[in-house]
């Protein structure tokens, strides 16, 4: 009897994988299709089927051109009821594509998001920090043009540097590259610091509370916690992304960062704008 159940389990999972592959292939097909009207109509028809199972907050990307809406990005940002102050881009895929990530960062900047964090759970971006920065600057030129790049300046924060508490200029964005070491390890380091202070009688154990720990873990007084994390890839987990900072973060899943379009990003932002936070009340 056990073998029958095992067999049926395998059949079930094969069907699920076929279903997943079908949806991915369909999305790629739709993207490559140039007939806008046709593809939108088909997408509208097939979206309910694509979304029926599994029941997750995943978004079916609408097909669209990448460039061409450049001048509308800022207006799009202003049209939303709320925009995240700090967005996290969690890449949960094996092979990161730097150009696509750079595009995402530049679109986030153009739409008006002040703080952008990029994360992967292997620390690949951290190790290739300079390559990612170069790619972002390159895409900034390409997507925003020379004038646009002057208007939207970007500041890169690397690990260990303290962000000066000067006023963030309008249209200036801060990009930070994160790895798992910024998560639990950072909390442990803060704990060690506090325990050392207790050892040296500068503090007592009773002095330690949420506020004290939070101030140690805050990048700077002005950096907000991530309001929104966009997760790219099939794995349904935070994979160690900043455990302390994500207590109120909204998580929106997107299938992949490879060939991601501005429309994909914008529909996620629209989704975020409609979330209602009751904060316990």
């Amino acid at each position: 009897m056990v073998h029958v159940y095992e067999f049926m389990w395998r059949v079930l999972h094969v069907l699920l994988h076929i279903h997943r592959t079908f949806i991915t292939l369909f999305r790629i097909r739709l993207r490559n299709w140039n007939g806008q009207l046709w593809s939108r109509a088909l997408a509208a028809l097939l979206v309910p089927i694509a979304l029926s199972f599994p029941k997750q907050k995943k978004l079916v990307p609408a097909p669209g051109k990448r460039v061409g809406r450049r001048y509308r990005w800022g207006a799009d940002g202003k049209s939303l009821e709320k925009l995240p102050d700090h967005i996290g881009l969690l890449i949960a895929e094996e092979e990161p594509r730097y150009t696509d990530i750079a595009n995402l960062v530049v679109w986030c900047m153009a739409v008006g998001i002040s703080y952008i964090s990029v994360y992967d759970n292997h620390g690949v971006f951290r190790r290739n920090n300079s390559r990612l920065m170069e790619e972002i600057l390159k895409q900034q030129q390409e997507l925003l043009g020379l004038e646009g790049s002057k208007q939207h300046s970007v500041e890169f924060l690397s690990n260990g540097t303290d962000k000066q508490d000067h006023q963030v200029l309008s249209c200036q964005s801060v990009v930070k590259v994160l790895s798992p070491d910024d998560g639990k390890l950072r909390i442990v380091q803060a704990a060690q610091e506090l325990c050392r202070a207790v050892e040296q009688m500068e503090k007592t154990a009773k002095d330690i509370n949420v506020t004290v720990l939070d101030s140690l873990l805050r990048e700077s007084k002005t950096t907000p916690d991530p309001d929104l994390v966009l997760k790219f890839g099939p794995v349904e987990s935070t994979l160690g992304f900043l455990p302390w900072h994500i207590r109120l973060t909204e998580f929106i899943s997107l299938p992949s960062h490879v060939d991601v379009s501005y429309e994909d990003l914008f529909s996620a932002l629209q989704h975020y704008a409609s979330c209602e936070q009751r904060l316990g009340k």
Binding site: K57, G183, K184, E199, V210, L213, R247, L248, K281
Partner: protein, 335 residues
């Protein structure tokens, strides 16, 4: 039993359960039971009724978990943030909790028969004293049971839990039980309220919200997260199966990520031990550099002594926590 609904699965449910169980199954599932008030609005009943139905749904879900051989469940019953709600609602929830814990204590024989261990995670000192006493009695009475575990997060937020754990380690340093260099990820995990449980394999949040709301942020860093749009009082066996299916689809990549993280942790600990040893030798050594063999031995000795210190500290911490609960129960007995 009021906390775990009696009953068995029907034929189709049993069949589906058996098929699911042929694959990897989560051993510990966490629930954010969201949607009671929206359910009450939808059904046009009182809010309190929504919460009561939410509790009944919990009892039913625990039954399904046992049928699916899931032996540990953690639920988010009341957040510290929820104290911001209206006095009526908060009082209503405290009263509901009190009634349920009193009922639980009346069913002690059943709890023993099913081997149910109840734990309450959170800052109990924020609750009314009588509720604290009922909770303490329930936890102490079921402490030795080990067939299935129910962890109820009450007056809980993850940040408070982490800050509390850091505070406990600082207390250990103050008492001279551990050194600040002994602080590590593993030690912090063992100072959390949830130290007696493994990390949840699966976290389910109902009602369509896609955030963690300060729940088990440390423990769920590599858990499978499933957000479902159904309101909690309407949760069904099939919703649970759907979530478990998601877990099974994510099982391999998450296992891999977890193993990688564990390897990284072990490496960090090794490096930390080495650094501490080097420091020690510099300050207390006789100036002569050690050969490789002596160095290896010294490192092993250092690691062993650190682990012994940590064990003693954890013993003292457990004793402190147990005493807090037994003090409450003796207060209750005297009252």
């Amino acid at each position: 039993m009021s906390w775990i609904r009696e009953g068995e699965l029907n034929l189709i449910e049993k069949l589906s359960a058996n098929i699911l169980k042929a694959g990897p199954m989560p051993k510990h599932v966490a629930f954010i039971m969201d949607g009671n008030r929206r359910y009450a609005r939808k059904r046009q009943v009182e809010r309190q009724e929504g919460h009561t139905q939410g509790f009944d749904k919990l009892a039913e879900t625990l039954r399904w978990c046992l049928n699916l051989s899931i032996h540990e469940v953690t639920v988010y019953a009341f957040s510290i943030e929820n104290f911001k709600r209206s006095k009526d609602e908060v009082d209503g929830l405290m009263e509901l909790a009190k009634q349920k814990f009193i009922r639980l204590l009346e069913e002690q024989d059943n709890l023993e028969k099913h081997g149910v261990c109840i734990r309450v995670l959170g800052d109990l000192t924020l609750l009314p004293l009588d509720l604290q006493q009922h909770i303490a009695r329930a936890v102490v009475a079921t402490r030795t049971h080990n067939k299935c575990f129910l962890n109820v997060c009450f007056a809980y937020t993850s940040r408070h839990e982490i800050a509390n754990a850091v505070g406990e380690m600082a207390w250990g340093v103050e008492q001279g039980l551990i050194k600040s260099s002994d602080v590590s990820e593993a030690l912090l995990s063992r100072c959390l309220y949830s130290s007696n449980s493994p990390n949840p394999d699966l976290l389910i949040r109902t009602s369509g919200e896609v955030r963690l709301s300060d729940f088990l942020l440390w423990q769920t860093s590599h858990s499978c997260l499933v957000f479902q749009s159904v309101l909690w009082p309407e949760y069904s066996f099939w919703n649970l199966c759907d979530a478990i299916l998601q877990y099974q689809l994510n099982h391999r990549p998450l296992q891999k990520a977890r193993d990688q993280h564990r390897e990284g942790q072990a490496l960090q600990q090794h490096e930390a031990d080495r650094a501490c040893l080097a420091d020690l030798l510099q300050h207390h050594g006789n100036g002569k550099p050690l050969d490789a063999q002596r160095r290896r031995e010294a490192l092993l000795n250092y690691t062993a002594s650190r682990e012994e210190r940590v064990q003693d500290f954890l013993g003292a911490l457990q004793h402190k926590r147990d005493s807090f609960l037994t003090d409450l129960t003796s207060q209750a007995a005297l009252a």
